[in-house]
């Protein structure tokens, strides 16, 4: 057990060191959702009417509605950013250091996802605090209770990102990932508008959104922020947790690490 503890500590240590050294990454990760909160939501407030939907018990502003989705955005982009560094690591060779350890490879990969999730959580909580100070209807208890949910859901996104990094051979392909994974995942979810609004417009889009794991991630954050628990949502994200981890572990099985150079 001792070796696993030191191994996990080392991987988290390195991820935090990288995070502290790349301050611009922290600020850009924060600026993106803040722009959406301050500018995009300001424009949409008057255009979009929101009914009373769970977990909310009264009418809310669009700023309030959009905040959990923007937290999800931070987790999604940070997960993909970590996927990007994995591709660089693979190209530079430093990923090989991780994968040639005698310690169980799945454990190493889980530590990597967990370490990235810690960084994502720091960014997400910072964003929530800024939103709270800006006047969005949030409670300190809600923010504190969301921390484990953010950590857990971030691991799901990191695992998907890790799987993607295992199938991408070159860094140039990352732009395609932006267009074909990140944006569809974000827009085809309940991050920006409630699912019933989408259902009104298109049953097909609503069905797609209903299968999008990001929808459930955003909803689990939303419910926790407002001190509510939705068991159905929990089962779904737990299911995606297992699926995402399995994909990530399969992606980095020995035979798939190296392709013919």
């Amino acid at each position: 057990m001792r070796k696993y503890f030191y191994c996990a500590k080392g991987i988290i240590y390195k991820e935090l060191l990288r995070f502290l050294k790349e301050k611009s990454r922290f600020f850009s990760a924060l600026v993106r959702p803040l722009l959406w909160l301050f500018i995009f939501s300001a424009g949409f407030t008057s255009a979009l009417g929101l009914a009373i939907i769970p977990p909310y018990e009264s009418y809310i502003t669009y700023e309030t509605y959009i905040v959990p989705g923007l937290v999800g955005m931070i987790l999604l982009f940070n997960g993909m950013q970590s996927s990007l560094t994995m591709i660089i690591d693979k190209e530079m060779g430093s990923m090989k250091i991780l994968l040639t350890s005698y310690i169980n490879r799945n454990f190493l990969l889980f530590c990597k996802m967990f370490a990235t999730a810690i960084v994502s959580t720091i960014q997400a909580i910072t964003f929530l605090v800024v939103a709270y100070l800006y006047g969005v209807e949030l409670s300190i208890i809600g923010i504190l209770l969301t921390i484990p949910v953010i950590l857990f859901t971030s691991i799901i996104l990191n695992a998907f990102a890790l799987f993607i990094s295992s199938v991408i051979k070159q860094l140039e392909n990352f732009a395609a990932i932006m267009n074909f994974v990140i944006f569809p995942m974000f827009f085809l979810s309940s991050a920006l508008y409630p699912l019933w609004k989408i259902k009104d417009s298109s049953i097909f889009l609503y069905t797609v959104c209903s299968f999008n794991p990001f929808t459930y991630i955003v909803e689990s954050i939303r419910f926790t922020l407002y001190l509510k628990f939705d068991p159905f949502n929990f089962y779904i994200i737990f299911f995606y947790f297992i699926v995402a981890l399995s994909l990530a572990f399969m992606g980095y099985k020995a035979k798939k690490v190296l392709k013919k150079s």
Binding site: Y4, C7, K9, R18, K96, I97, L98, L99, Y102, S261
Partner: protein, 245 residues
């Protein structure tokens, strides 16, 4: 009689349908300096990737320190690895890089430094511990990677073209240092290279060409067996190819 630290038996490997290793067998004894010599594309790096489990074994068997490679939590425990390409994190200091690698071996930060105390002194790296890797020259970076591979005192060191890109002095400093450790019986070394001048006559050697082992033995024995003047001539004789071309 010395124990066998590494054993490959009838190892073959294909990339898609292309056979890149054909029935490779050789073994390395404890406390020996073993050179795997071949031109680029001979299959050296594929063997290295199989030994480090970056590729999975398709056929044959690999045993490290008595454990099959499939049992990697035991087989890889006592090996150190130096890759052909740089694998240090340039933004971190030497100390931070060493801590990270030590952690991947299940060691605390304190244990990591304690296990390479002598190596840091012998390779003049004590004063560089808090220097960012990006500020080090190529020779020093390679030394850090050598020291890193010696964390936790491995029994076998695997080095894939570890001196490529270094000047002559740096190359032979590293070679001399490792040969000295082998002579003291501290470690066994698998030195993978395409550079003929890195081979000494007393070294155990396997010549690999187009995925096949053409000769094994000490360099001296192989040269004598084929009645050639030196290793380069022997290689030309065996492969019908000029390594200098």
């Amino acid at each position: 009689m010395k124990n066998t630290i590494l054993e490959l038996e009838n190892v073959s490997h294909k990339y898609d349908k292309e056979l890149v290793l054909n029935d490779i067998s050789f073994s390395i004894e404890e406390a020996s300096f073993f050179v795997l010599l071949g031109l680029n594309g001979a299959g050296k790096s594929t063997i290295f990737s199989l030994l480090t489990r970056l590729l999975s074994l398709q056929s044959g068997s690999i045993k490290i320190n008595g454990y099959t490679i499939q049992n990697y939590t035991k087989a890889l425990k006592d090996i150190g690895i130096v890759f052909q390409e740089p694998t240090l994190d340039l933004d971190l200091t030497v100390r931070q890089n060493l801590y990270y690698y030590g952690a991947l071996k299940g060691l605390s930060f304190k244990e990591t430094l304690a296990s390479i105390k002598d190596e840091l002194t012998n390779l003049d790296l004590n004063e560089k511990l808090d220097t960012k890797v990006q500020k080090l020259n190529g020779g020093h970076r390679r030394r850090v990677e050598i020291v890193r591979s010696l964390i936790n005192k491995p029994k076998l060191l695997l080095l894939d073209e570890a001196t490529v890109g270094l000047d002559l002095k740096s190359r032979f400093d590293i070679l001399d240092y490792l040969r000295h450790k082998v002579q003291k019986g501290e470690i066994s070394v698998l030195w993978i290279t395409h550079l003929f001048d890195e081979v000494q006559e007393s070294d155990s050697l396997a010549i690999i060409h187009k995925g096949e082992i053409l000769a094994t033995g000490t360099a001296e024995e192989i040269i004598a067996k084929h009645k050639q003047a030196d290793l380069t001539e022997t290689f030309k004789y065996l492969t019908m190819e000029n390594p200098d071309a």
